[in-house]
């Protein structure tokens, strides 16, 4: 089950990157806020149809769950706003790398303490090495992108 979930999430990452390319192209003509709005709006439309046909849960239970769980929608918007603020000052690559670092560290911290009732996975030596490899990977991304840029400039 675990492996299957990981593959499923990999596909999630693939669609996310396709989304950012598509939205990047669209926002050049339509604007950033307009693009984000349209993304959310069309997403809502698709999901409305999905829920009508396949929804097994209960949307109305939204009124009964703890309000702090509803604040997650603000976190997504916060991500967008903070990214938009950082990109002009430090560039897309640095923003993405810092973003990924924050995502990974907090992900491991949440697992360790089991916050929000999530699975408790302790931070052990194996996970320390995993973090080291991720930092190494971020370093390679930085180097790789810098080199691509240099090649582009010399052309």
């Amino acid at each position: 089950m675990g492996i299957f979930m990981i593959l499923f999430t990999l596909i999630g990452g693939i669609t996310l990157s396709a989304q950012s390319s598509i939205n990047g192209t669209f926002s050049r003509k339509a604007g950033t806020i307009e693009t984000t709005f349209l993304t959310f709006l069309t997403g809502t439309m698709f999901l409305t149809i999905f829920i009508l046909f396949f929804g097994g849960g209960n949307v109305l239970a939204l009124f009964d769950v703890p309000k702090c769980q509803l604040s997650a929608a603000l976190l997504g918007t916060m991500y967008l706003l903070l990214t938009v603020m950082a990109v002009p000052r430090i560039g897309v690559i640095a923003t993405n790398i810092a973003g990924i670092a924050g995502q990974l560290v907090i992900g491991v911290v949440i697992d360790h303490f089991g916050w929000f009732n999530s699975l408790v996975i302790e931070f052990d030596t194996k996970r320390i090495f995993a973090l080291l490899f991720m930092i190494l990977s971020l370093y390679f991304i930085y180097k790789g992108n810098k080199r691509s840029k240099e090649i582009l400039n010399t052309q």
């Binding site: 979930m5 990981i6 999430t9 596909i11 999630g12 990452g13 669609t15 396709a18 989304q19 390319s21 192209t25 669209f26 003509k29 806020i33 307009e34 984000t36 709005f37 349209l38 959310f40 997403g43 809502t44 698709f46 999901l47 999905f50 929804g55 849960g57 769950v65 702090c68 769980q69 604040s71 997650a72 929608a73 976190l75 997504g76 916060m78 991500y79 603020m85 000052r89 923003t95 810092a98 924050g102 995502q103 990974l104 560290v105 907090i106 992900g107 491991v108 949440i110 929000f116 999530s118 699975l119 996970r127 995993a130 991720m134 990977s137 390679f140 180097k143 790789g144 080199r147 691509s148």
Partner: protein, 142 residues
Amino acid sequence: MRFISYILALLAGAALSFEGAIYAELGKTIGQIETSFYNFFMGSIIMGLLLLFFGKGKLSYTFEAPKWSLLGGALGVVYLTSIVVSVPFVGVGITMVAVIIGQLIMSMVIEHFGWLGSKKTMINKEKIFAVISMIIALILIN
């Protein structure tokens, strides 16, 4: 000032992990597709307000744009639903690493071929090393 921008970007990433963990919990009570729906519905309202007050772009371009460039929302749905489904099974850490690997590989491929209107950038040695290191991290974290 640059230092603050790095902190902002770090916080942005942290927000994504928190979001994943909280939505996983919400998904257990109201259902996973319903959680995605809530996210996009709320997002539409928040962005709709921002658009009304601060929008400087051209929303009407939507009707002139090539149709494939309108698919961002549908793709975002796949991403969010996969997170809500996966976190309760494998935890936030593994989920985030898997998402990042998917993103890394796909963006390399997209840029290599210059698909979807992106600028063409060749895959190089460093980028392949980056993916390999990430995959090692995923194996270790599992």
